[in-house]
Symmetry: D2
Subunit: 327 residues, 4 copies
């Protein structure tokens, strides 16, 4: 490759976190400016995805811009926070029309922030759209509301890309955009060209998917607009450091991207609750670089031949050979 | 309702089983004729789904017909066995063209058996189409082969319905038609009117779906051609007796069918490894009848109102009231 | 039964919650006094388990006592908060000796609060004791530290009971006291009479246990000192309203308690993120009362006979008969 | 190390398999003699674990011995088949006294075969001891029967070792010896010195354990008598080729064995349904040798220091450095 691979991260990677037990947080609160300054310390980070509204205070775009510039960072996407208290019972699917309108307004504002920063997309993660109990919702109406809300925004902003990040669950017991297939089904129903998927490796694993298969499917529909990686134990969205648990499936995921000549940023979506966030990002990117080396070495023709016969051991031996010699 | 609900079962419910440990089987082998005679002992069974080829010997259609008649049973579907030894590496997706052809031939024969018995559909359960290891297959080719194989058959037999029964996995580590959404995505891509879904309640649970939501989605696409029920612990396709573990979600599933005025047979897909198969079917159907009573009692308007507000506890209280007073 | 069953709840049932997404919380913050006043509105609540330190402000024991009295509530246990920020890397197992000492001090204070309120036990939930990554800890040392810390406290306070509430995971990816068996193994190793288990129904389900089996095992070791209930989808500690998902297993759990003549409070450990907390408690207790009625009706001898033959369908039919006629 | 690591395999690795779908099997049936001849083709196999009765025909010990000798193989253990049809409702816990006696007789015979071959242990895998449904069994009696049956055998054969291989489930929905902790609890209750655990890496993963932690615990009780490896997706006992999915956790597992100076055979328990069984064994052993090299390189002191601080990233970087440079 002549072009160097660019790396990115969600800016929340450099925040601190709360959960339902450590309600006092896993560290002192940070502003988005603090987080950007930490992101700037990561060795190979080019772009970040920014939550909107900017967290930790009232900051103008210009202040954020300045922080980005002093750290040599660009913006890949803006993630409107449509999952905070007011959206607890849903954003696009909230039973309250007022909240659905608020969702629309917040995402519309986020679209302007995308324009301001020249970012690639508005990222939609409607984590509160779904249900917790049997009998709680009318499933047909809920799904329709999901598509209506997203479709309207994509339609009103044809100059921008919108990406949907699906996840099986959390914080709801079941999330509406739960899988790659469901999301593609919805996107095809909406039928607009500026709507795609941001594929989170860990969410795919959590949902019982093979991330390589999910990526191929989204690519075949022309809808893979973004991606990020992390790791987990397949039973929850642990957002662990990429490569620490499932290196082979991560390798296969990137193999699939390269095979399809997918150009785009390799992003991190990690939550280092108890780790140093800069070190967590460096560790992940070091491993992604190891994977890049392994891809360069991989006997692509040999893999293709093995796959033509569904020869698992033949293909895996080539993958192991490339991966375990790449440090 | 003026029409009485009809009940059905896969004829394999009345077979005996082997697994990788009890290789001598959980009981003496039975022929399909034996199984039909057992099915005839179930109190309220109207129709069966028959494996093809007929198991346990060489039987003509007429022999099977005679057995069905003496037991007062009709045929709802024919399930070609595209998951036995020769198909171990796939049926529609087998790397060997000869096996893909064999799949086509066997399903074509099964289509004739559907015609012979005046059944409703050919049921496709391509359980060996999928993969076991990372790097084993080219995911794009595999999915294309799945759709090509199914599409060709649906196209060649426009007088018949074909239903696809999806499942997350087993016997492969991952099955191509793994979820309701993936299957709908494939069906819409194929674009033929005679192709639909057979929704297995347990497969939906196993896949992390809410079966009520899956049913609604399939109905909204006009593709819910059949259904069957059983139960499990959500982590495997245990094929336990329906209603014994998840009565509330089963109730919600049937509530969704009734709300949509879905007419069709309520079928069983259970594997009573260690139970008497007639008693297992009777136990399940007794519970389904209890659910019918509960549906008759359920305050539908109240549920609708609660759902309009996503009021989980309000809706559940109505569901509990109806269900726990219906014995 | 001549004695009426008493019901209890963790006071956090009546708090509001935060998680990593809704960092502004699912409702306005409440003090422990607010929570007690809400608990007082539940129809049939006798006792509560109190977090310590008391949340939402600086409150003296006397203020809490007054709030309890005006709501007619007693105290069953005190739960020291050994899972907040300072304990993020562990309480009993923290690599920092200072934090381990702090743990000891906080639990020792909690023991005094138990004495003050005449409660039954100190409840230990060392949710931060465990690990997140392979290679992160020396497993032998970690387990030893868990037992040393708990053992010292039980030894120093022989006049009090200590109960350990195990859970497979969350907020760590793996928690040291992960299962009923591991916890019993630890308790037997420590060998003190005042150390037992608080069995959370949902934690057992989450861990792949049968809660009835877990209860029987703890009882057979003389270590079932407390219990609480809730519900989930077996894949996470959802803390849903008891009985809404797994009524049969809940019934079997209480059947096991009654069979063993286990006397004790039936407690709730629910997190009604988006529900009214009083209604959530009432809904659960209404269902527990339904289970009490069902237990009164259950053909105990019939169940015993069926179980003597491992006759699943026979036993389940009796259970269904009792349960589905008890509304 | 001066002594070379010995490798072993369950002889069933070289059999063919049936499951409930491919009832005609994933290949032509093989006798135990065929399987031994295949095992002899694996590059680095020293010992095998033999099912008893010998499968595929009536074979005398001498015939098996001859086959072993011509292939240069020793016997590490004998696995009595206490999970076939007659044991479908349990072996040690069967409700039928006659079957419990049969279990005792078969295991007693297996003990003689152990003596004949000079093997290390009788391996007990009571896969049919457990339950499928709520209310099916009296949990206290079931567990007692498990311990009574095993204890009697260990007591009657003090010259031999018995190892219990636990697993969460399959073929039952829940297996009595379900976890490392439960099994240790039972072994400690029985209290005999010749009873230990055979730890299957995949079973531990399937059960939500960290295999390294499980190994450490069993070692600390002096009960780790044997082990075998394979891989899976954590949700089922897939018995995939070792190292193909979870190399890091496998590495941590062997690191733990070495740290404790655990001497013993590294065995395979794989089920290559669709793979060449010799190639599957060679692939696994090649990877185990890679792990041996990585262990030789691993900065042990560095890992120890990192673990003293629960420094996940520090420890993982050392592990990655050793592993990914070892091909």
């Amino acid at each position: 490759m002549t072009n160097e691979q660019r790396y990115g991260a969600g800016i929340w990677h450099f925040a601190t976190y709360v959960d339902r037990y450590a309600t006092d947080g896993y560290g002192d609160p940070r502003t988005i400016l603090d987080a950007i300054d930490l992101a700037g310390q990561v060795r190979d980070l080019s772009v970040v995805d920014l939550n909107y509204p900017f967290f930790g205070g009232e900051f103008a775009n210009s202040q954020v811009e300045e922080a980005l510039q002093r750290n040599g960072l660009g913006v890949i996407g803006i993630t409107p926070e449509i999952y905070t208290r007011v959206f607890a019972k849903g954003s696009f699917t909230n039973p309250d029309l007022g909240v659905r309108r608020l969702t629309h307004e917040l995402v519309t504002e986020a679209a302007d922030v995308v324009r301001h920063f020249g970012a690639e997309y508005v990222k939609l993660w409607p984590g509160q759209d779904g249900w917790d109990y049997p009998f709680q919702v009318d499933h047909g109406s809920l799904w329709k509301a999901s598509l209506d809300g997203v479709g309207q925004l994509a339609s009103e902003n044809p100059d921008l890309k919108f990406v949907i990040e699906y996840k099986p669950r959390e914080p709801r017991v079941h999330m509406s955009f739960d899988s790659v297939s469901r999301t593609l089904l919805g996107i095809e129903k909406i039928g607009l060209p500026n709507l795609g998927i941001l594929l989170d490796f860990g969410h795919a694993m959590f949902g019982g998917e093979s991330p390589a298969d999910s990526a191929q499917l989204a690519i075949d529909y022309g809808r893979l607009f973004g991606m990020d990686v992390n790791d987990n134990l397949r039973g929850w969205d642990d957002d662990l450091v990429a490569g620490t648990i499932h290196p082979i499936e991560l390798f296969e995921f990137f193999y699939t991207l390269r095979k399809n000549d997918w150009q785009g940023v390799w992003q991190l979506d990690q939550f280092p609750f108890r780790e140093d966030s800069v070190e967590a990002a460096d560790t992940a990117i070091d491993f992604l670089k190891l994977i890049e080396s392994a891809l360069d070495k991989l006997d692509l023709e040999g893999v293709r031949d093995a796959q033509a016969n569904h020869d698992s051991l033949g293909a895996l031996k080539l993958a192991q050979k490339a991966l375990y010699s790449s440090y």
